[in-house]
């Protein structure tokens, strides 16, 4: 015992203490406290602990439908012809089950697509492979709301698909309209499958070829080899990807809002994330107007997300995420294909690439043409792009985003580097807690952070700069810092892990105290990780949706890009046109491409990154 105290005293040098304070302060005040406060609120009814709000949720009948609607296809006769409508009346199992249904389906579809694509890309050689390598990742370029809007444009009754296949080519006997939960599942699958794809890909190429060769040597081949050796070896990576897809699907607000913009209200709004958001949007003005059962909803969502996160973390440490994967240490097994093999591969890849990347292309088309106003784009124009600079509101949103993201990035670097260093180098109790806390934000749905902030800061920091009704911008900075922290922390941590500890010990030995060692040895050695993590965090802050749109409602002047986009696409406010939102989407796409290229260049390694 005596010994332990001595050990802790030795480990707690001024640098470590400072780092611990930084990490504790930011994560405590802007993650742990607000979220815990919200959880408590959900369990308190009339001053005592109770499950009242949870019971009233269930009793309401809309949370879990006693009579679920399962018919999901209907053929409707209209003056313009027959329409096959998918997802308008059903499926609808109630908000809670809808959420689980959507996330589960997205996870299954995204995993299937991702693993298949990854296997093809990792194990086969074919002409055009590099082209597909790039194109398969396009869906990772987030264009919140607008991508769902594009889907609407394409799949609506008067959309592109019907125009092409029904009106022009007359292949279809009826028009098709996909909406509701199926539309949600479709758009989320397309934008989230790259997470599984990337993880599966790096798992496949990191499998020591001799392991498979040994199995072949013993007589296994084809599907048997895949199912008994390859898949089990890649399973940790794949399942972690699948779990992230589930969580990201559940917390996503971009798709439901975008679909509402395209189709108006519908079943795509009957999911937890949207409901919580909507309650707060309506409750503008005072936090008391928000019914406490909303907090109960948030708690339910948080529990699901955390359960999945902890389960998967137990199975595979999420440490390998947002981390560097050193592609091909050995020469991976790659096979050339004959024509018979090439055809199905091309068909699969082309369909996947086309359907997954059309939202991004659609956003570009929306931004540069008059497509938003017409059935088909008829003229090219730069007017929407120029609105980014000319339109005062748009420009202000861009400026807000830039400021928030820059400051947040600085905070993230400070907190992320501190946390990573303590976790990597100090042997103190509580180290695992810091490790967990700096990864945890991945698993906490953004809307829950937003709700926690609203409740906590409106209650305890009213009339201060941290009052969300007065100054949501400042809170957004902290929300970005916390929500995107895992990117920085993990990238930096990976850096520290690659630095041999003896390099730091050599400096200690020569008389440098720990602070000096940190600043002259450790940090310079991993500076490329810091920069790269910073750039990625910056861009992902610009993309942040959930807290941006929820908190900015309280003071639209302080809204960032994503808030402006959500307003244009969804809210009634006639502040601008969809085309301008698309132009903002293009801006985000460009920023992401730049960031990823620069950070890949700096690290000279492929960075497996997480979208959303």
């Amino acid at each position: 015992m005596n010994l332990n105290i001595k050990l802790i005293k030795r480990e707690l040098d001024p640098l470590t203490v400072t780092q611990l304070i930084i990490v504790g302060l930011i994560l405590g005040a802007f993650l742990v406290l607000p979220v815990s406060f919200m959880i408590l609120r959900a369990f308190f009814h009339k001053g005592s602990l109770s499950l009242y709000y949870f019971e009233s949720l269930v009793a309401g009948g809309d949370f879990i439908k006693t009579k679920p609607e399962t018919s999901w296809i209907e053929l409707v006769r209209t003056p313009q012809g027959e329409i096959l409508i998918i997802g308008r009346k059903g499926p609808d199992f109630g908000i809670f089950l809808n959420t689980l249904f959507v996330s589960t389906m997205v996870m299954i579809f995204a995993t299937t697509l991702g693993v298949l694509a990854a296997f093809i890309m990792a194990r086969y050689e074919f002409p055009g492979k590099n082209f597909f390598k790039v194109i398969l990742l396009i869906p990772m370029l987030a264009t919140p709301f607008v991508n769902a809007f594009v889907l609407g444009k394409v799949l609506a009754v008067n959309g592109l698909v019907n125009y092409l296949l029904y009106e022009t080519l007359k292949i279809l006997p009826f028009k098709i309209w996909v909406t509701g939960l199926p539309a949600l599942i479709l758009i989320q699958t397309l934008s989230l499958y790259p997470i599984v794809y990337l993880n599966a890909y790096s798992s496949f190429i990191n499998i020591d070829p001799s392991l498979e060769e040994q199995a072949e040597n013993l007589g296994a081949k084809g599907l048997k080899l895949f199912l008994t050796i390859t898949l089990p070896l890649a399973l940790p990576g794949i399942s972690a990807g699948a779990a992230l897809v589930f969580i990201f699907s559940m917390e996503d607000l971009g798709a439901p809002i975008g679909l509402s913009g395209a189709f108006g209200s519908g079943l795509h709004e009957k999911i937890l994330s949207f409901r919580i958001y909507d309650e707060f949007r309506k409750g503008i003005g005072s936090i008391e107007q928000v019914h406490a059962s909303t907090y109960a909803m948030a708690v339910v969502m948080l529990i699901i997300a955390l359960a999945i996160f902890l389960l998967i973390k137990k199975y595979v440490t999420l440490k390998s995420y947002a981390m560097l994967s050193k592609g091909g240490r050995w020469k991976p097994r790659v096979r050339r294909l004959g024509v018979k093999g090439l055809v199905p591969i091309y068909v699969f890849l082309i369909i996947l690439a086309l359907s997954a990347s059309f939202p991004q292309f659609g956003v570009v088309v929306l931004a540069f043409t008059d497509w938003a106003m017409s059935k088909l784009p008829s003229k090219v124009t730069l007017e929407h792009i120029s609105a980014l600079l000319v339109n005062r509101e748009v420009f202000r949103a861009i400026l807000n985003s830039l400021i928030y993201s820059s400051v947040a990035t600085l905070i993230m670097l400070l907190v992320g580097t501190s946390a990573a260093y303590v976790v990597a180098r100090r042997k103190i109790p509580g180290r695992d807690l810091i490790d967990a806390l700096s990864t945890l934000p991945i698993a906490i749905p953004g809307i829950i952070v937003a709700v926690g902030y609203l409740l906590f800061f409106a209650t305890y920091f009213s009339q201060t700069p941290l009052d969300p009704f007065f100054n949501p911008g400042l809170l957004l900075i902290f929300s970005y810092s916390v929500r995107r922290l895992p990117f920085t922390a993990r990238t930096v941590f990976a850096g520290f892990q690659q630095v041999h500890e003896s390099l730091e010990e050599a400096a200690l030995n020569l008389g440098a105290d720990r602070a000096k060692v940190f600043f002259t040895i450790a940090l310079p050695l991993i500076i490329s990780n810091v920069i790269s993590g910073g750039i990625l965090s910056f861009v992902y802050s610009m993309n942040e949706v959930s807290t941006s749109i929820t908190l900015s409602n309280l003071n639209p002047n302080q809204g960032p890009i994503t808030f402006y986009m959500s307003q244009v696409i969804y809210a009634s406010a006639a502040v601008g046109t969809v085309s301008v939102a698309a132009a903002l989407g293009v801006l985000l796409i460009v920023a992401q491409i730049l960031a990823i290229s620069v950070s890949n260049y700096i690290l000279k390694q492929r960075v497996a990154f997480l979208g959303v």
Partner: protein
Amino acid sequence: MVVVRLKNVSKRFGKVVAVDDVTLEIKEGEFFTFLGPSGCGKTTTLRIIAGLEYPDKGRIFFDDEDVTDVPPYKRNTGMVFQNYALWPHMTVFENISYGLKIRGYSKHEIKKKVDEVLELVQLKGLENRYPTQLSGGQQQRVALARALVIEPKVLLLDEPLSNLDARLRVEMREELKRLQKELKITTIYVTHDQEEALVISDRIAVMRQGRIMQVGEPDEVYRRPKNLFVATFLGRCSLIEGKVVDVDKDLVTIAIDHIRIKGVLPDKDMKLRKGEEAYAVLKPEDFALRIDDPSKANEFTGTVEWLFFVGPFNQIRLGLGRISILVNVEPWFTPSLKSKVTVYIPYEYVIILPKKEQEVCQET
């Protein structure tokens, strides 16, 4: 230059006892070596002296100062790491001058001192290179220069030669020895290479599983191993197990079947009585084919079971009934297999060790 003292130092990592109750005094200006198989706790001991590891028990003194709780950056030791630990983001000059900058020397003094030490380790002209642009031997010298330039109280070297190829290793160990004598700096050296330890050290501590098995000058630990571990770790030897049949002052005779082996106990405090079990340690190089005074030597006649050509000498496995011994003979002597050969080994070269609580070195 200081005296380094370890008093009952112990350190465990979980279940592994890395250092087990080590008590030692390393003299001023001495070249002291920890020798032992890998994993025996040499590095940990060195790191405890440097302050990079803290002992669970025991104290460390530099002269009379108790430095047990002094952090590494205040101990003023100069350590050369096994992997050199050169900073890849700094040039040779920046690497070497790091410790001087920390100590607040002026630019001018730094330049002068770095120049001097570069001269010493024969690295002039490489100041602006980065570590990755240097050969293994050069990197090793930079690491040494970086440790020496701060004029440390103690120089700590953790297998500094193990990453070099065989020839360079021999050259560098002589150079190290020369430098150390020139600078008269207390030096603590770690190696698993017994030849290196014998050549370079003033004194050697042989370690095993965290414990010190024997401390002494090279010829002492080599000639007078106090236990089977030390005997078997330092060079090859034949071990013959038998019963004590005669004790005559310093000379002990053991017998196995009809064979009698006479030898000495390595330590005055050691006692053996008639009837006890004991080992005789016979080093192959101590045998001779002829001897001036056969009355002071064991004489063995046996059949040649095998002959090895080693180069500088030939090695014979000589069968003596149930047992056999290894004998080195002159390179011109090449008896045919199965032929009879007689060899001699002086009594004083044969070490007799009590059998109780002895363990043989499994490694190497």
